[in-house]
């Protein structure tokens, strides 16, 4: 089905309730008493000053009990202190503009069909200039309007799966996203793009990598580091590249597409189990760790940098195993770490622990006993390295040898976060713990490799 026709749609201007708009305490009482709502035109008289403008919400900039925020006719916002000498008067309500749009998008035969699933984040959002709120772009029409050139890259089927900040995404959400992705593939999409906040983007990518098996087409996660309401946003370049990869790349695996460098030049498609957010704010925050990116996309030209796990094959039958056991913890090793952290996890019924060890995969000796107790209690304990780059090797030093003897599973060159997701997935999808332990140390979807090359092109840059 490639029908991208949108019906008649009406969009209402949503008005925030006063209580949700960041006003608290005395100001909230005063505004309520005056019968004022966000978006109303008000007059505030304070001492000799008189200010007229539209009442703005202040949820995004911090709640405050003393100041109202008013947008003046010049477009500027100012904060006015409200005390006993201040009067607030409502002048009039905003016109409730109902927009109706008749959008008929005729699918183009020559273009691939790509489903774009939105989970939240800033890649697909629009700013409400009246209230300053950022709303998710809801439909294919919204996406086309935000990024008009998308129309010449693919026929888009847009769906909203959820609207969450990525730090709030749970393993249960991974399952939902996996199932919705599978539905789009079964409905004939040539590729699926998932828009997602960047904080936990790589973890969702890993989760989908394990749960979507035997993929016939690519599944591409994408985010943006600069929200799409600003002209300098990286969202459009990333989104167009993601749609290109989803629709045209000769690959069938879970990938993550983001900027390749600070310039608006090319993007990189990283393997879903290998990507990590390595910078808090830069556009090129994501890197492939211990692996090469799979594709480089520049001006819609897709260049293969390393072979994909599988090639595109629409006849392949997708299998979905979208269960996760969230009783798994990830613990970073540090000087002074107490064994009671692990003892608590055992008592709380945790079934897996991923250790982010020091160096080649070590822990302080002080927790060896607790680790042994955990393993004896049937908890799977796996070892990764907090060095991020490189492979764990527990044969070199005594501490490592001892942990191996206790039964800790070495995770080779797997990322700690990927190991966490993998263990959650294994514990929910294997019948016996032993099978989970064995699988943990073996490559399933490119998360582990046994060779590390001398020059790792993590960024695809020239370094």
């Amino acid at each position: 089905m490639t029908n991208a026709t949108l019906g008649h749609r009406e969009q209402e201007v949503r008005v925030l309730a006063l209580e949700q708009s960041g006003y608290i305490g005395a100001v909230l009482e005063r505004l309520s008493a005056a019968g004022v709502r966000v978006g109303d035109r008000i007059r505030v008289v304070r001492g000799s000053g008189e200010f007229t403008g539209i009442l703005m919400p202040r949820a995004q900039i911090g709640a405050d009990p003393d100041h109202v925020v008013v947008k003046l006719d010049s477009g500027y916002n100012i904060g006015i202190r409200v005390d006993s000498n201040t009067t607030v008067k409502r002048l009039k309500s905003p016109k409730r503009v109902k927009q109706s749009r008749e959008a008929v998008l005729t699918p183009k035969e020559s273009l691939p069909t790509v489903a774009v699933l939105s989970t939240g984040g800033t890649i697909a959002s629009r700013v409400d200039y009246q209230t300053g709120a950022v709303n998710p772009a809801l439909s294919a029409q919204d996406l086309y309007e935000a990024v008009p050139e998308l129309q010449s890259h693919a026929n888009i089927r847009a769906r909203v799966v959820m609207s969450k900040f990525s730090e709030d995404i749970t393993p249960a959400d991974w399952a939902t996203i996996a199932k919705r992705t599978a539905r789009e593939i079964r409905n004939g999409a040539d590729g699926v793009v998932i828009a997602h906040g960047t904080d936990t983007l790589a973890l969702t990518a890993a989760a989908l990598s394990f749960s979507l098996q035997n993929l016939p087409v690519p599944v591409v996660l994408v985010g943006s580091q600069r929200s799409s309401d600003r002209p300098s946003s990286d969202a459009a370049l990333n989104l167009v590249a993601a749609v290109d990869v989803a629709g045209r790349a000769d690959a069938a695996e879970v990938l993550l597409v983001m900027h390749g460098e600070t310039d608006d030049t090319f993007t990189l498609a990283h393997r879903g189990t290998r990507a990590r957010k390595c910078h808090t704010s830069r556009r090129d925050a994501f890197q492939s760790i211990n692996a090469s990116p799979v594709f480089r996309v520049e001006s819609s030209e897709i260049t293969e940098m390393s072979p994909p796990l599988y090639r595109r094959d629409p006849t392949r039958r997708l299998r979905v195993k979208a269960k996760f056991d969230d009783h798994v913890a990830l613990i970073k090793m540090y000087p002074g770490l107490k064994p009671d952290v692990i003892e608590y996890l055992i008592s709380a019924g945790y079934r897996g622990i991923v250790l982010e060890g020091t160096g080649l995969g070590h822990t302080p000796q002080s927790i060896h006993l607790a680790v042994k107790q955990a393993i004896d209690a049937g908890v799977v304990v796996a070892m990764t390295s907090q060095c991020i780059w490189g492979r764990v090797d527990m044969n070199v030093y005594r501490s490592g040898v001892k942990l191996l003897d206790i039964g800790v599973v070495p995770c080779q060159d797997m990322l700690p976060e990927t190991a966490l997701v993998k263990l959650m997935w294994l514990l929910a999808n294997t019948k016996h713990i032993e099978a989970a332990r064995r699988a943990m140390a073996m490559p399933l979807v490119g998360e582990i490799s046994y060779r590390t090359e001398l020059v790792v092109s993590g960024t695809g840059g020239s370094e």
């Binding site: 477009g75 916002n77 002209p231 300098s232």
Partner: protein, 637 residues
């Protein structure tokens, strides 16, 4: 053109003065606010795209920039720019020092500070801001400044970040290069109400505001650190925003010429009405007249045709004689059409029949093209020779501008040209282009902060000049000069620490240094310590005023030398009385006959000769005393 009666035409002028602040950090990051000329350390490239308002509207100017597929190159310095300027890190908190300077100005201007400062994003996608917007915040509202006993209202005092500096523009490859050094330097923007009534008054108000800003002692100096936007309208005209005027002395002329332009455009409107032309007469029908020019002698057109371009024409009914009418010196309505064509079509310009035959286009060609587009003698025709799409866009823009001519003056943003005329820059942006900067927390302006500002108000330069006249007996002219000088602080330091004539200090700093510099002396090598030390020598009577230029010249040429070194080398040190007496005695001796014949009247002449010999080595009072004594002694003999 006769002198304009500005009250009769209802001239209204408002100013927006932008001044860079001299702070220790930038407004939204911790980089030093330094503009540099050495080669940058690196460059990166970005694109910007228009964002739509909630109503689905996109700013037309923004959209247009995007359609040009512009590439923006940004040059950076690793040690003085950071990820914030590169739009790779969220902005830091607002610089408190900058806010304080704005609050000081608010106090000077009786402007009321807001209780909470909310930074906004103003969309700008010409590439001058890496983010695609400029951050700006209202600090205070209202107030006034009194100039020549007229109160000019202040509308707002805003605090903004300066934009990146444009280094080069490559139209062929649709790219621009900016440098990040200037981006983020704090700018105060003071907007007056449209209360100004004459061009001269505009200049005076700008001057008064500039002086007040300098009174804070915390603003940058030099070319490019102050920029003026001017809003000009006349009755029945429109508000024209003239942006980025850097030479203050051009301000009154710019206002005068804009008033003239609006008067002329209204006359053209009236003439079109008299000719009975209305909107329905104008039709956007572009006619391909390439074949008229197959054998044209016009080099421009021949070159276009060789490149496979077309010649398109637009008939402008009733416009004959008006397109060529001058609206500003050297600029006609046709020039305005051409500006639109260049901006919206990216073409080199247009031809119009009011100026033809010319540029190698023959009378015969003009007649044939007129016939081809069906233009009669009342009509004008605009033509463009370029690639077809560009030519179409250009003539469509001309058509839109012609429609505006029926209504008078279109509201525009214009940029000043060196002769005080202006040219079209872009349509005037609407208010919807502003939304909150949610990455920065609002700043509360507390009563404590305002009390601290009020307690530490600087003396205004005006008050200072008056004090200098009163306290130091400077002439009014010299007082005005020194208060506007970069050497003001040094002047105050010297007169407070040495008991020397303040007039001598002021003259040295303002006149002597300038004339030495003019004579090629590297006065920029002189340090504050040199000057302070020099006046200590003057105070002790070791240096005479006349010796100052010699000493300064020497020290400027030998910056590591002390004033004592200069005295030793140049020999302009003060002579003791015996040495002076010896010189005087010798001189009197040599002119014994002259002294005898003139008697005491010889004193003046001898004085002149001796002073010439002793220039800089002795002060006049001592010399006169000795000359008197020696002449009398000679007469007694």
């Amino acid at each position: 053109m006769p002198k304009i009666d500005y009250s009769k035409i209802g001239l209204k002028v408002g100013l927006e003065l932008h001044q860079q602040l001299d702070t220790s950090r930038k407004l939204y990051c911790h980089c030093p606010p330094i503009v540099r000329d050495d080669p940058p350390h690196g460059v990166f490239v970005r694109r910007l795209r228009p964002t739509q308002s909630e109503m689905g509207e996109v700013d037309p100017a923004a959209l247009f920039e995007f359609q040009k597929h512009m590439l923006f190159y940004y040059e950076y310095y690793t040690d003085t720019t950071c990820l914030v300027e590169a739009d790779e890190e969220p902005p830091h908190d607002m610089d408190p020092e900058s806010i304080d300077i704005c609050l000081t100005m608010a106090k000077f201007l009786d402007s009321v500070p807001v209780d909470e400062v909310h930074p906004m994003r103003k969309i700008v996608i010409d590439g001058s801001n890496t983010s695609g917007f400029q951050r700006t915040a209202v600090i205070a509202l209202g107030g006034h400044i009194s100039v020549n006993n007229r109160n000019i209202g202040i509308q707002t005092i805003c605090l903004e970040e300066d934009a990146a500096r444009k280094i080069t523009e490559d139209e062929k490859h649709s790219s621009r290069t900016y440098r990040l050094d200037r981006l983020g330097i704090p700018l105060i923007e003071i907007a007056t109400a449209p209360d100004i009534r004459t061009p001269k008054e505009a200049q005076e108000v700008a001057l008064a505001l500039g002086l007040l800003l300098r009174s804070t002692g915390r603003v940058k100096r030099g070319l490019g650190t102050i920029r003026q936007d001017v809003n000009v309208s006349i009755r029945d005209g429109a508000i024209i925003e003239i942006k980025g005027l850097q030479q203050l002395e051009l301000l009154s002329k710019v206002v005068e010429l804009e008033a003239m332009r609006q008067i002329q455009l209204l006359r053209i409107r009236d003439e079109l009405a008299r000719r009975g032309i209305n909107e329905s007469d104008l039709r956007l029908e572009l006619i391909d007249i390439t074949d008229v020019f197959i054998e044209s002698a016009s080099k421009l057109i021949r070159r276009a045709l060789r490149a496979g371009h077309r010649v398109l024409a637009l008939r402008l009914p009733g416009f004959a004689g008006l397109v060529g009418r001058e609206v500003q010196p050297g600029r006609r309505l046709g020039t305005e059409f051409s500006d639109y064509a260049k901006f919206w079509g990216g073409v080199g310009g247009i031809f119009h029949t009011d100026e033809l035959p010319k540029y190698g286009i023959s009378q015969d060609e003009v007649e044939r093209l007129r016939k081809k587009v069906g233009a009669d003698s009342q009509d004008a025709v605009a033509i463009v020779a370029d690639a077809e799409t560009r030519a179409r866009n250009a003539l469509e823009a001309v058509f839109n501008r012609a429609i505006e001519a029926l209504h008078g003056v279109p509201a525009e943003t214009r940029v000043p040209l060196p002769d005080g005329t202006t040219k079209y820059a872009r349509p005037r942006p609407g208010a919807e282009r502003m939304y909150p900067e949610t990455d920065v927390r609002p700043v509360k302006i507390t009563a404590e902060r305002l009390a601290r500002i009020a307690k530490n108000m600087p003396e205004t330069l005006q008050a200072k000049a008056k004090r200098f006249v009163r306290q130091y007996a400077l002439s009014e002219e010299l007082a005005a000069q020194i208060t506007k000088s970069l050497n003001l602080d040094l002047f105050e330091k010297i007169v407070e620490s040495c008991s020397v004539s303040p007039t001598l200090v002021a003259v040295t700093l303002e006149n002597t240094l300038v004339s030495l510099h003019r004579d090629g002396v590297p006065t920029e090598q002189l340090s504050e310590d040199h000057l302070l030390s020099l006046f200590r020598y003057v105070e002790q009577g070791l240096v005479t005023p006349a010796a100052i230029p010699t000493i300064l010249s020497y020290v400027a040429g030998h910056p590591s030398a002390t004033i004592q070194d200069a005295l030793d080398v140049t020999g302009v040190g003060v002579l003791d009385e015996d040495s002076i007496r010896a010189v005087v005695r010798r001189t009197v001796e040599e002119r014994r006959d002259f002294v005898r014949s003139q008697g005491e009247r010889a004193i003046g002449g001898i004085m002149g000769i001796v002073m010439k010999d002793l220039r800089g080595k002795a002060d006049g009072k001592t010399v006169r005393q000795i000359v008197e004594q020696e002449v009398r002694r000679a007469l007694v003999d």
